[in-house]
Amino acid sequence: MSKPTPNTRKPVASGQIFRQIIRRDLRVAMRQRSDLLNPLIFLLIVITLFPLGVGPGPDILGRIAAGVIWVSALLSAMLGLERIFRDDFRDGALEQLMLLPVAVEFSVLAKIIVHWLLTAVPVLVITPLLALLLNLPIQAWGVLWLTLLIGTPILSAAGAIGVALTVSLNKGGALLSLLLLPLLVPLLIFATAAVEATLAGVSPAGPLALIGAFSVLSVTLAPFAVKAGLRVSVN
């Protein structure tokens, strides 16, 4: 077998590695579809339980719909969150991720994007159904969907930080929710404020802009925090 002298080997483009991580993780996820479906089914069940619990009066439901959908979405996101790094930690793929010839932040960003694609996109797809079940007035559907679209990257990014810190603990699950949910309270407040503003006939631009800012900030800065967390965890 002949091989070129490794010194002269061309460095692999970061984009190539980025794409490969996304491709592999999507493949792995497609082999464990039940893991993907469980949070979604949980979300659907919680939403359908609410009309039974608080009574089917359309005005009450309509008023609390946005809050209920967001709280349920947060809780269901907590269910599958550990998946970001847990399996990789167990089988050693995480170690290999840290040994790739690209900045760790870059690989971490790929993991965050995959997580968003696998958890948030399905929620976005069924949001109209959830809004319908809770009788949210139709003029607020668009804004609710928008808050979920720009708010869910925050869940994936902040979640990755939490998981990076707790992945090496055996019972990290409860700690993770305890760690993350308080951090996500502002997101919840602004998301429901945006929907309420729309329902009151006021422009939701203010809260939406704030969520957007949080989102950009968390997605760009989280990889650095995740890297530090993973350094500790793989020790």
Binding site: R27, E95, V234
Partner: protein
């Protein structure tokens, strides 16, 4: 000098695992780290790979601190630890395709020949989790056959392998060393009877 460890010390909890370890790995050399369980062999390998910070000392790749030349170092390093890094949901081919692609090496056709070389014929399309421990180990080690990295750090590479697997790995080591590669490994196997020279580093259990 490919890789150098300078006065390395590792402390786990309250216990000093080892201190003042010096290691010079040149191309064409195989280093075997020996020592009883708990002496810090894996820790030493992880320090050399940059996965674990040393309490004291430096690791130099071609004379440069590995944290300073991280990407250049990892471009030339293949590390296989206790956990193999093989995704159990994916098949052998899918796993290997990933590791080849991140090294910038795309298989134009599925690497059946490679799998045949490591004794995994007929198991190409089975998810790795349904294979035995030894077979999973073989998938991870198959990376050695296409990897173009010069430095290999292998933690107990012979674990779970059968006699044929061990012989196959020795042959691969020999080719790699002849091509100017270097290998650092831990093993309880006696490598003295091998056809290549073995440098040994002995770690002692410290109380």
């Amino acid at each position: 000098m490919l890789l150098q460890g300078r006065e390395l010390q590792s402390v786990r909890g309250e216990r000093v695992l080892f201190s003042n370890i010096n290691l010079d790995v040149a191309s064409g050399q195989l280093w075997q780290i020996e020592g009883p369980n708990g002496a810090g062999k894996s820790s030493l390998l992880r320090i050399l790979a940059g996965l674990l910070p040393a309490q004291q000392g430096d690791v130099l790749f071609q004379g440069e601190e590995i944290q300073q030349c991280r990407e250049r170092y990892y471009h030339d390093l293949l590390f296989i630890g206790h956990k193999s890094g093989i995704k159990p949901e994916l098949t052998a081919i899918e796993n290997l395709e990933f590791y080849a692609a991140v090294e910038g090496h795309e298989f134009s056709t599925p690497p059946y020949e490679l799998l045949a070389q490591v004794g995994l014929v007929g198991l190409e399309d089975i998810p790795a989790q349904r294979l035995s421990a030894g077979q999973q180990r073989r998938i991870a080690l198959a990376r050695l056959w296409f990897s173009q990295t010069r430095l290999w750090i292998l933690d107990e590479p012979f674990t779970a392998l059968d006699v044929d697997g061990i012989a196959m790995l020795h042959d691969r080591f020999q080719v790699h060393l002849a091509q100017g590669g270097a290998i650092i490994l831990t093993s309880h196997q006696d490598l003295q009877s091998m056809s290549y020279p073995v440098n040994r580093l002995q770690l002692r259990y410290q109380h």
